[in-house]
Every structure is written in structure tokens, then in C-alpha cells.
Symmetry: C2
Subunit: 430 residues, 2 copies
């Protein structure tokens, strides 16, 4: 081995040194606490899934271009999971009859996206996933949105810093399919375009929408479409949409969710007709938590109802609502809002034992074990350097207290626990 090996991680993934891992654990703890407070149980599965699981709803192109998919020696096509919703649907479908409903599950999986190398995007990330199965009523949406709200607050954001955007696939499909008579393919195209509305120049958006709507000579549909998209609020939108005395189901549901959230004290939710969400499997209410901070305007959480996904596995229907939240944005938010854990507050041990020489090692180990028995986390310095250097190391790795052991201490058994910050000493006898 004359050639030196590189210490670099694989492109697009992260190493978690202890100080990074402390932040990951801080995020995971926020997620866990809220999920468990609402009675959700943790599950997990392998990173490896049959590629077919994603083909069904994502299409061949996405599986081939945006996921890590390869063929194993048993000629099986295997994918590193890009999301966990298909997995949880598979697991629930497998035990559909045995499970008790409402079923509340959460998981913190690592997920993989095969982004184009040059874009420098992250290829492995962690995500909280919360799902509730077996609930037809809007209580499922209300509960999961409430959880997303509580997690966002735990990141350090105030109500003014973010908003919860609510939309409905039923309304969107009603517009594209019933109102404008588009077929499924064109409907999907118009929705994907709508999703990008805020990122496109107005004229490009309008021209593309016109093309999809196919009413260039008259221009009636595009006018109606733009009126709907530009409605300033939910009431204006419903008035612009309303064709008859009877309220559309999607409108009724959206109204009910918005009202329920307000009653729960969540006042920063609003209807957003341009919210589409990427995944094809959504069937009803969809939502996202949006960070309004001018520096990082972006989606923090996203989710919705997907009542048909379990149909892929056959058998009876199982209604489902879920959402996901990523670790990268969580870390950014904790940093932005000053909530990130500091290295000195996540010290690796309570007491650091400095050893004068090798002869005291046995005694020092006994002291360490005795202190561990009392619930202390204890590390020993086995470098046998000068005591001053050992204390420097305790400071460096943020251990708050030290005990120095030499021949004197072994003989008398009189030990002193010294706090490095205050200089205070406490006596201790083995």
C-alpha cells in the first residue's frame, strides 16, 4: 500500500463527527418527543427495497434517474429507499387484518436521492415520517398538521416566522379535470406547472398553461385559471370557483381543517391554491409548513392524505395521512433560530480521571467503576502525559470535572473532584 487512501467521504454524503451527531440527536429527540406525545409507535425497515415498490407510483424514469437502483446477483432489482411512504404502505398492507386502527406509526429513516453529481446536493438524509392509518375523517389531517406545528415551534420558530399552507388534491383535480376537461396526463402537467408558479416568469407560466389548456383562440380557460390562482384568500377563491349552490367536497374539507386548526390555537394556517406537492399518491388534503424567513423561504414539512396507496397491494382500502420532515432543514432552522446544542452542553462524560503513571491505573479503574455505579459517566486519560496536558484535554473535549490520581491518592484514598469552570473541589473517598 504505497498509495495513500483518501479520507474523503463519498460524494454528496455527510460524516457525523460527535459534535454533528449531537445535533442529529437533538433533532431526533424533538421529533420523537412530539410523535410519542401523540401516541405514535416507532417502526423501521431496511434501506434496501425491491425497485418495483417505487415503479408503481413514481414511474420508470424517476426510479432509473433519481434513485440508487442496481441489480443483485440473484437478478433482483434493488433500490436504496428514496422515501419511506411506499415501505410503510407495504408493511401495513402485509398485516392489514391484524393491526389495530387508528394505527399511528413514526420512523426516522435515512433516505437516498441520486441527485446529479454536479449540483452538489445531498444524497443521503434523515427524515421524520409520521403516518396515521384507518381514519376516514379529517381528524387525521388535523392531528398530523398539529404535530407539524408543534415540531416547528420546538425548532425555535414563532407563529410569525412560518405559515401552514393547506390545499386539496380534490380541488386541484376538480379544476383541471372537471372544470377544464383535461385528461389525466394534461392534468398532471398543469399541476406540476402550478407547483412551479412562483419560480417562473409570469409570461412563461401563462404561455405554458395556455398550451396545456389548449384554448388559445378563445382564452376563456386561461383567464378563469389565472383568476383562481390569483385569488387572494380562501373565500375569494371559493367564490371564483363556485359553479352551483352546492359546495365542492374539497372546499368543504379545506374549510373544516382551517376552522379546526384555528380552534386549536393554530392561527398561521392558510389556504394556498398553488400548493401541489410532488408525490403522485396524494388524494385529498395536502399541506406544508413554510418558513417565511427572507433568508431561507422554503418548505419545512410536507404531507397529506393518500387513501389509495395501499390499493397497490390488493385487498380492502386503508385510508392514510402522513407527513415528512428532513434533518438538513431542521439543522438550518435550529441554527437560524439559535436553538442548536453547543458542544460544551453535550459533554461526553461527567468526570475525567487524570493518571500520574501506569502504576496507578488499576486503582484509577476501581475509582471509575465506583463512580459509574453511582450513575456518573467517567473517562480515564491513558496517555500518561503531564497532568497539565491531561487537564487541557478534558477542557478540549468539554468534560466539566477532573480527578487526579498519583501515588499519594492510592495510599490515602483521599480524592478530590475538581470542577474546571469554577475551580471548586469536592472530597471523595473510594
Amino acid at each position: 500500500m504505497s498509495k495513500k487512501l483518501s479520507t474523503e467521504a463519498y460524494k454528496g454524503v455527510r460524516d457525523f463527527y460527535p459534535e454533528d451527531m449531537a445535533v442529529q440527536n437533538q433533532i431526533f429527540t424533538i421529533w420523537r418527543n412530539v410523535a410519542e406525545k401523540f401516541g405514535y409507535q416507532e417502526y423501521n425497515a431496511s434501506v434496501l427495497e425491491p425497485a418495483d415498490l417505487y415503479r408503481a407510483k413514481s414511474g420508470e424514469e424517476i426510479v432509473n434517474d433519481q434513485t440508487y437502483t442496481f441489480t443483485d446477483r440473484g437478478e433482483r432489482e434493488v433500490t436504496l429507499r428514496p422515501e419511506i411512504t411506499p415501505t410503510v404502505a407495504r408493511m401495513v398492507a402485509a398485516r392489514k387484518r391484524e393491526l389495530g386502527y387508528p394505527l399511528r406509526w413514526y420512523s426516522i429513516p435515512n433516505l437516498f436521492r441520486y441527485e446529479q453529481p454536479q449540483r452538489g446536493r445531498i444524497r443521503e438524509f434523515w427524515q421524520l415520517n409520521v403516518d396515521i392509518f384507518g381514519v376516514d375523517s379529517l381528524q387525521a389531517e388535523i392531528e398530523t398538521i398539529q404535530m407539524a406545528y408543534e415540531i416547528t415551534k420546538a425548532y425555535g420558530l414563532t407563529d410569525a416566522d412560518f405559515e401552514i399552507r393547506i390545499s386539496s388534491r380534490k380541488i386541484l383535480n376538480h379544476i383541471t379535470q372537471t372544470l377544464f376537461g383535461l385528461d389525466f396526463e394534461k392534468s398532471q402537467k398543469l399541476l406540476k406547472l402550478t407547483d412551479k408558479k412562483n419560480k417562473l416568469p409570469t409570461d412563461v407560466f401563462t404561455a405554458t398553461a395556455e398550451g396545456i389548456l389548449g384554448d388559445v383562440p378563445e382564452g376563456k380557460k386561461i383567464k378563469q385559471f389565472l383568476t383562481l390562482l390569483n385569488s387572494q384568500n380562501f373565500e375569494e377563491f371559493t367564490q371564483n370557483l363556485q359553479q352551483s349552490a352546492e359546495e365542492h367536497e374539497g372546499i368543504r374539507e379545506t374549510r373544516e381543517v382551517l376552522q379546526a386548526l384555528e380552534k386549536l390555537g393554530i392561527t398561521n394556517a392558510r389556504f394556498d391554491q398553488t400548493l401541489v406537492r410532488g408525490s403522485d399518491y396524494y388524494t385529498g388534503i395536502i399541506f406544508e409548513v413554510f418558513d417565511k424567513n427572507p433568508l431561507n423561504r422554503r418548505s419545512v414539512f410536507g404531507g397529506g392524505r393518500y387513501d389509495d396507496l395501499l390499493d397497490l397491494f390488493g385487498g380492502e382500502k386503508v385510508p392514510a395521512v402522513g407527513f415528512g420532515a428532513g434533518d438538513v432543514i431542521a439543522r438550518d432552522l435550529l441554527e437560524t433560530y439559535g436553538k442548536i446544542v453547543k458542544p460544551e452542553s453535550s459533554f461526553p462524560a461527567d468526570i475525567y480521571i487524570c493518571l500520574m503513571n501506569k502504576e496507578v491505573a488499576e486503582y484509577a479503574q476501581d475509582v471509575a467503576q465506583a463512580l459509574r455505579g453511582k450513575g456518573k459517566r467517567v473517562a480515564l486519560d491513558y496517555s500518561f502525559r503531564k497532568i497539565g496536558d491531561q487537564i487541557k484535554n478534558a477542557n478540549k473535549i468539554h468534560i466539566p470535572n477532573i480527578i487526579c490520581i498519583g501515588e499519594e491518592e492510592v495510599k490515602t484514598g483521599n480524592l478530590k473532584i475538581k470542577n474546571l469552570a469554577t475551580g471548586n473541589e469536592e472530597s471523595y473517598k473510594l
Copy 2:
């Protein structure tokens, strides 16, 4: 989608339903508690690593045949990590100068082994990895063996159920290279054979060893080799090995470790000259915890010193000692020794709220939030089935207490928390 999707997981991996995840978390907690008691800090890295990281010490064949390795679109060869020691070596090497020593790190990574499909072996598993860097002296071995001992005890084993086997690569290399004058390749062959001694018929073992030693006409070496391997204990072995008045370094080190462990109260450690351990990177003391239960005689933990591994990345030497422990065997042991967590003891919520109808949902949500505010984990039944069926579900998912809410409760605000096991009721007012 007329064809039904399979609900099966990918071959050789496991789904973790909440009852399985509870056991995983039980195992992880045992691991974490011991690691943190000894002042170890958690780190992690991606599942994806450059394939070159494993080629250096494992060889082309192993990387190609026993790991998941594939080429990405950037023409990079990437491997799903089969172990984390090369990763931790890479990470420490990358920040060698900045880190404080002794450096104590642990991780609970998921690892991947591409076993032959027909053998039905597990392809993804979790493993505790504990490593201490920067300690030249045997204190590093003593500490890590002590941790392995404590974890084994936490699995429920008594001292009589297991033994800690200790060997030394220095002794093994001394025998094969100095005593018998074998070159590196033949030395490795003889060690790999020794590792399988207990699994091979005596005559096959002897004939193969004879072939490697290459002294068929005389038979002196094989006789000496068998005498060494058949020595009944450490003292007999050292007498059989001793060539001069001066004690071999490996012998001295092994003696020191055995004595130190005994002084720490660990009396079930013993020297085992047939212990080799698979990995090529070990350089000194090696050890394993061995379960003596006749039903599952096997290695529970394995580790040792690997002082040269960081050399691959260049720069100064960093001595290192570490061990690994797998989740599959941990689960088996917890089951065997009756320590496994029961589903009813890991209930998903403290209180289950049963709702008479949709009209009481808003009030029930307020009750749930108030109880959550007091630290209770609360789940609501949104099925709107008969109350009896809702209570059945609470029992099924092991939630110990219920509150039933109907119009009466909304009107009066008088609630009753009922314990399902005892029937006891407690009054509660919002």
C-alpha cells in the same frame, strides 16, 4: 396497475414492526448506556462509502463477492459499508491533529453483507462499534473488554454462561513467521485454518496444516504446532512456546490483560490460542465474548488492537482498539435469558381517548392537549365505532388507561380516567 405489488421485504433484510423496533431500541439502549458510562461519544457516517476504502485491507475478491458494490453515474465505485472500522479510521485520520486523545467514540451503524442468496443469511444488520484511539498501553484493551463484559451481563448472562477469550496476533505471527518461518501468505493461510480448527475433523485439520507448514518428511513442525494448539491453559502454552529466558512481547501482554481483568472482578477470561478473528487489520491483543450455552455456542462480541489501519491514510501513527457487537445475536440472547421487552411494557401511549361521535372531537382534542402538556402521551380513537370496540383497540395496542368522551362529558367537563387492568377510575376536569 392491475398486477398486485408484493408486500414482501427485499430478500435477507428485516421489517421492524413496532414490537420489533421496541426490542431494537432495548438493545440500542443497553449499548448506549455502557458506552456513555465509559465516556464514549457517538458518531456516524453514511451507508455509502468509496469501494477503495475496503479494497486496501479486504482485497478485491471480498469487495466484489461479499459486499454490495456498484458504479454510480459519475463512474465512482461505491460500497454499502460491510463494517464501520474503515470508516472510523478514515474520519479520525481526516482530523488527526485536531482531535483530543484518548479519543473514545461509539456508533450503532447498519451494515451490509452480500451473503449468497440461497443461504438465507441476513444482509443488513446493526452493530455497536466502540473504539478508543491514541492509547499505546494495554489499558485500551482492558477498558474495551470490560465494556464488552458489562454489556454481556446486561443481556442477562451470568459469569458462568459465557467466557472472554483472549489471544494475541503478536503470538500467532511469532509462531507462524518466526518459529515456522512461513512467508506472509502461508502465515495467513495457517491462521485462517487455525480459526476453523473446532469446525474441522482432526485429520483434515492436521493434513492441511502439514501441507502449509511444508515439513511432511520430518513432521517436526506439525508436532510442535499441535502441541501448542492443544496446550490446556496459558501457563502450559507459554512453557511449550518458550525458547529462551526472555518472555515474548505477546505473552507478556496477554498475561498483563488477563491479570488486570481478574483484578477488575472479571474471572471468566481465558487465553485461547485458536482465536484468530477474521479481519486482517488486527496487530496485537484480540478477544471475543463467547456464549457457552449449548444451544447457541457462538461469538457474541469480537475485537482487538489495530495500530496500523490509520497508516493507510498517511501521516503519524494512531494506535487503536475496538470491538463490535451485532443486533441479531443480542436479540437471541435477550430471548434466551428472558430479558426481552414485552409488548405490553412498551405501550405506545398512557391514555386512550374514546370518542362517542364526531361532534365531541374538538373537545377531545383540547383534553388530549391538556394532558400532553402534563407530560402524558395521549392517543385518540377517531374510528367513531361503538365505545366497546374502541376499548378493545386500546387493549390490543396495550394502552393502559382510557377516557370516554360523549355529549355528557362535554357539557359537564367531568372526565374519568379508567385503568383497563384494575378497573380503577380517577376523576379529571379540564
